[in-house]
Structure formats: C-alpha cells, structure tokens
C-alpha cells in the first residue's frame, strides 16, 4: 500500500466562460522517503496540486490518501492536525512571520504542542543548526539574507519532524550558489527518510529529485524515475 496516493484529483476555478481547470484527473502514488519534483509550465496546475496535497485546498473530485487516511473526509480541525503532524511547508517567498526571530518562527509549529519552553527552544535550535543557522536564532528575518530566510523556513518545516515536506519553488528567489545549498539540504533530508514533494521551474533543481512528475494543462504529462530523463521531460514540456 502506497504511503501517499492521489486518486483522480480534479479542481476547477471560476465558472462559466471564466472556468479554468487547474487539475483534471490527476492520479499518482508516492512511497515513503521519495524525493519527487513536480514540473510544468505556468498554469499547469503544479501549485494547485501542492495545495491539495497540503490539505489546504479541497479538490472538486477525487481522493487524497496518506497512510490510508482519506484527508478530504476529515473536518477542518482534523485537517489542521494532519498538517501539524504530517506536513512541513516551504514556500517560495519564505513566509516567515516578520516580527518573530528565526528561532521563534521555527518554534511556531511547536506553539500548539504540549511541551515545555525549554524543549521548544532546544528543538528550534537543533533545527536551525541542521540548516546551518546556528548562532542566528535571535535574528529577525529582515536581519538575514534571502538564503538564510529560506533555510529558516526549511528549519520550521522540519522542526516537527514531519514525514512529508512540501516545497513550493524553494529556490525561486535565491541565487545559484544558495539554491545549491538548499537543494543539498533537501537531498540530505530525503536521504534521512523524509518524503519530499517539490514544485519547481528549475531543471537543475529537479535533477536532485529521485522522480519527476510533469504537469501540463492540469494533467499529469509523465512520471519519470531518473534525473536525466526528468530533465529531458521537463525541457520537452517547457518547449511544447
């Protein structure tokens, strides 16, 4: 039985002439510990797919299962619990809370868990240490570079030790050297057994993934298990 299963997912925005199909019968499975890249041109449905997988956006049709749990049959609070226990999010624009220090941002998912302040602090410091931000715990997001903000966002995503990491264009706002650092970090997390689903426009980033899902017009255009084939598929999709 697969760890994560998307079953004929469909999602439409708007109505009448303005109706646009973001997802049109998307089905796939992902095993625990896989690092999957999702690529495709703008408007192909990648971000909608990620938000559906993040239990943030209810599909019009189809089912989404994790650990055999039917996620969209859960109520709002149960979905929130699912996100807290199973998911870590990394957003393109970092989405750090500006008035909280890096450590406080990382501690956010722990704020709603029953544990002592000391435990929260230790876990945040450890997570920041894993992404190379030891010693910068008390800095505000505005006091560190874009790459460091993204790493802090990764630290926040993994502080709870969730089994799934969802990353939306995690290197979209970063330079090449910093992008490489972030991708190496995600690869390391994947090697440690975390399931990673990453939406990206960058073939170089997709090459770090073990598998590529290509999206086009809301449909799955292909699924390739090898990095080289992934790059080729991506290029083909981009030029089609």
């Amino acid at each position: 039985m697969s760890f994560l299963r998307a079953d004929n997912l469909s999602k439409t925005y708007g109505s009448g002439e303005a109706e646009a199909s973001a997802l049109a019968g998307v089905s796939f499975t992902i095993e625990q510990g896989e690092f999957v890249a999702v690529m495709g041109p703008s408007g192909s449905g990648k971000s909608t797919l990620l938000s559906v997988l993040g239990a943030l956006n209810t599909p019009d049709q189809g089912g989404y299962f994790v650990d055999e749990m039917d996620i969209y049959s859960l109520n709002q609070n149960q979905r929130a619990d699912f996100r807290r226990e199973y998911l870590g999010f990394v957003f393109q624009s970092f989405n750090l809370v500006p008035y909280l220090s890096l450590a406080e941002n990382v501690m956010l998912p722990l704020a709603i868990k029953k544990m002592s302040r000391g435990q929260r602090w230790d876990m945040a410091r450890e997570a920041l240490g894993r992404v190379g931000l030891a010693g910068k715990e008390r800095r505000l997001p505005s006091q560190v570079s874009g790459g460091e903000q993204e790493r802090a966002a990764v630290a926040r995503a993994l502080v709870n030790r969730p089994p799934i990491l969802l990353a939306d264009e995690p290197t979209g706002n970063l330079d090449q050297a910093t992008s490489q650092q972030i991708m190496e970090l995600l690869t390391r997390l994947g090697n440690e057994g975390m399931t990673i689903i990453m939406v990206t426009h960058s073939p170089e980033c997709a090459a770090y993934a073990g598998r590529l899902l290509s999206m086009r017009d809301g449909r799955l255009a292909g699924s390739s298990p090898q990095a080289a084939a992934a790059l080729a598929a991506c290029t083909a999709a981009a030029t089609a």
């Binding site: 609070n77 929130a80 957003f91 998912p109």
Partner: protein, 385 residues
C-alpha cells in the same frame, strides 16, 4: 513560544494600533470610573451628612389650628400654651420597631418669659440629647446647671447679657453660664436652661412643647419610623424633616442613572474602536494567519491568538483606565462636593467591575474579527502573500 507569546509579540510590533485600542478602552473605563466614583463619593458624603444632620424627626402637639407664620413672620394662631406632650409618654419611642435606629430623643419645653422688660422665649432642653441633636451648638462658657441659663447670641446682644451676669427670670435668679455662639437659626433668639428648670419656671411640670429625634437613617426607612412614632404617640404630630437631603439624594439618583448611561455609551464606543481596529488587524494579517493555518493551527487556536491580544490590551486598559478615572474623579470632586478636603472613595468592587467591563468589551468586540480570522481559507490566505 506559545500562543500568548505570539499575541504579545504582535502587540509589540503593532505598537500604534495597540496604543489606539488601549487608549479607546482606557478612556471608556476612565470615564465610567470617574463618574461612578464621583457618584459613590457624593452619596457617601450625603449619607455622612445625614447621620450628622442632628434631628431629622420632629414631634409636636397635634393642633387643629392652621399655623399663621411664614418666613419667620408670625401672625398669630399658633400657641405653645395650648397643648403639650407629656414627657412620660416619650418612653414609648424606645419601644418602636426601629428603636435601634434612634440616636437621641430631645424633649423641649417652650414658654414666654420677660427679661429686662422684654419678652423672650425660654427653652428648656435635655443637654445630653442636645449634643447629638444639635452638634453645631457651641457654648462660649459653660453648659448651664439647674440655676443657670445660656442665651442665644442674638438674645444676649439684645438683652445685654454676658457670661457671669445674674438675671431675674420667672421669679428665680439665674446665672448666665455662657452664650450660645451664633447658629443662624431661631436658636439665636432664645434663652436655654435645663429642661426641668424651664418646666418649673414655666409651670409646666412633666410637659414638653416639642420633641426632636435623631434617627440614624443611612439605611433605615425614615418614613416607616415616622409612622411607628406616630402610632406610639397618638396625640402628637410626627414629621420627617429631611426634604433638603431627600432632594439632593434624588438629584444624585438622577446623576447615577446619567453616569451609568454615559458609561455604557462610552464602553460601547470603546468596543467599536476595538472592533474596527481588530478587523483591520485581521485583514492586514491574512497572510500570517494563512501561515498559522498551514503549519497546523486549528481554527480555535487562531481565534485564541486574536482574543489573547485583545484580552491583554483590555486588561491593561481596564487597570490604567481605573487609575486614570480615580485621578479624574479626584480632580473633579471639588466641583461637585460641598465639603472641603474630600477624597474619592477607593472601591475594590468598582475596580473589579472596571477591569471586567474593559475585558468583556474588548473580548466581545474581538469575537467577530477573531471568528473571521479563524474561518479564513488557508489556501486563499497564503495566496494573499
């Protein structure tokens, strides 16, 4: 990092907005506290006056004649010589239901005497009772003994009497033991002796012309006491003399209602300030709330963050507003109070009510914005970033 920390840190970040909400609620609470404490202090002052007022029930002989005097101008028709009350009957006052509220019973006998060829009114009083009934009396000299008398200030002036003088009065030789300092009342015109001496001189043994009663009436039903004394002394006319105090109490009751109305209005306005500011705050923080929801905050936990913020602000506004209100009340007190050197009464009940009102107004006004925040679609909220 807890939900409380998030709320506190957000307040610190949005200092201007927090200060606006704080000021809105604080002014509301301060207004309420100032008005309420003023009312309370003035009521206390009046109650205190009422207790020190001296006589507040007057017992006179029942008369079928109309009184023919107005504003101190007598045209005849009322005579102290006609009817009297028996002194022995006054013991019945001690047995009325509210006897415990009776502080003093002061019988007085009145009669006309002649001194130095001038007619003057002689009053025999119970000097022990007079100390309670007429606390404003001040004798320059000594309290009179059985063979002594004290003239009122005006009587002393007109009759040329001073302490130590001897006066022939109704066939007796009396010594002036002192002079009553001016009171501004009719007492200035009278000559005073002990009750028994006056009864002897006026040939009214065991009789009194009128009785003054001091009732401790902060909480007692004075009208009820009047009725009780009336039943105990069926031959006498019993009246409550508290019209001035009653009028003032009525004014205060109106002021209290006004204070309550203004307080509620200001609290409502404070609540509206909170509502509008929190609505704006929630709109501004849509993306942030999206992040909270994405990382697993339940709807109730998002609400708790918003409500904790408003509760912290309201609590501070309640405490500061209370202190500000006390200060404002203290400053305004001389404008309303007749007394000098009075202070606003510290009332823990009002302090508690002020803080509770502030917190309730803040939290109630924040419920809708908090509910809206908790219902934000996390997907849409994140797209707003």
């Amino acid at each position: 990092m807890t939900l409380k920390d998030i709320a506190l840190l957000n307040l610190r970040r949005r200092k201007a907005k927090a200060a606006f909400v704080l000021a809105g609620l604080m002014v509301g609470v301060a207004t309420m506290v100032a008005l309420m404490s003023l009312t309370q202090t003035l009521t206390e002052e009046i109650n205190h006056k009422l207790e020190k007022y001296g006589a507040n029930i007057l017992i006179t002989p029942r008369s079928d004649q109309l009184q023919l005097n107005y504003g101190g101008l007598s045209l005849g028709g009322f005579s102290f010589e006609t009817t009297e009350i028996k002194e022995a009957d006054l013991g019945a006052i001690k047995h009325i239901k509210n006897a415990a509220n009776v502080a003093a019973v002061g019988p007085m006998v009145l009669g006309k005497v002649t001194v130095n060829q001038r007619a003057v009114l002689l009053a025999g009083v119970d000097w022990d009772a007079a100390q309670i009934l007429k606390p404003w009396w001040k004798i320059v000299g000594q309290r009179p003994g059985p063979q002594e008398m004290v003239p009122g200030a005006e009587a002393a002036r007109l009759l040329g009497l001073k302490t130590g003088d001897r006066v022939s009065l109704a066939g007796r030789e009396l010594t002036v033991s002192g002079v009553l300092a001016p009171t501004g009342s009719q007492d200035d015109q009278l000559l005073f002796t002990p009750l028994a001496a006056a009864q002897g001189m006026l040939n009214k043994p065991g009789l009194v012309s009128m009785v003054e009663v001091a009732a401790l009436c902060k909480d007692c039903p004075i009208e009820e006491m009047v009725a009780q004394i009336g039943r105990a002394l069926p031959g006498a006319k019993v009246m409550a003399i508290q019209s001035v105090v009653k009028g003032r109490m009525q004014t205060l009751a109106h002021f209290r209602s006004f204070s309550l109305g203004v307080s509620l209005l200001v609290a409502l306005l404070g609540g509206l300030v909170v509502l509008v500011t929190m609505m704006g705050s929630v709109k501004e923080r849509t993306g942030e709330i999206g992040i909270f929801r994405a990382i697993g905050f339940r709807q109730g936990q998002v609400m708790r963050v918003i409500l904790t913020e408003s509760m912290m602000l309201s609590l501070a506004a309640g405490l500061l507003g209370y202190l500000l209100g006390l200060l404002a009340g203290e400053l305004a007190l001389p404008l309303f109070s007749e007394g000098h050197g009075g202070h606003i009464v510290w009332d823990p009940g009002l302090a508690g009510a002020a803080v509770m009102l502030a917190v309730a107004a803040g939290v109630v006004a924040s419920l809708y914005p908090a509910w809206l925040a908790s219902r934000l679609d996390p997907h849409e909220a994140l797209r707003a970033l």
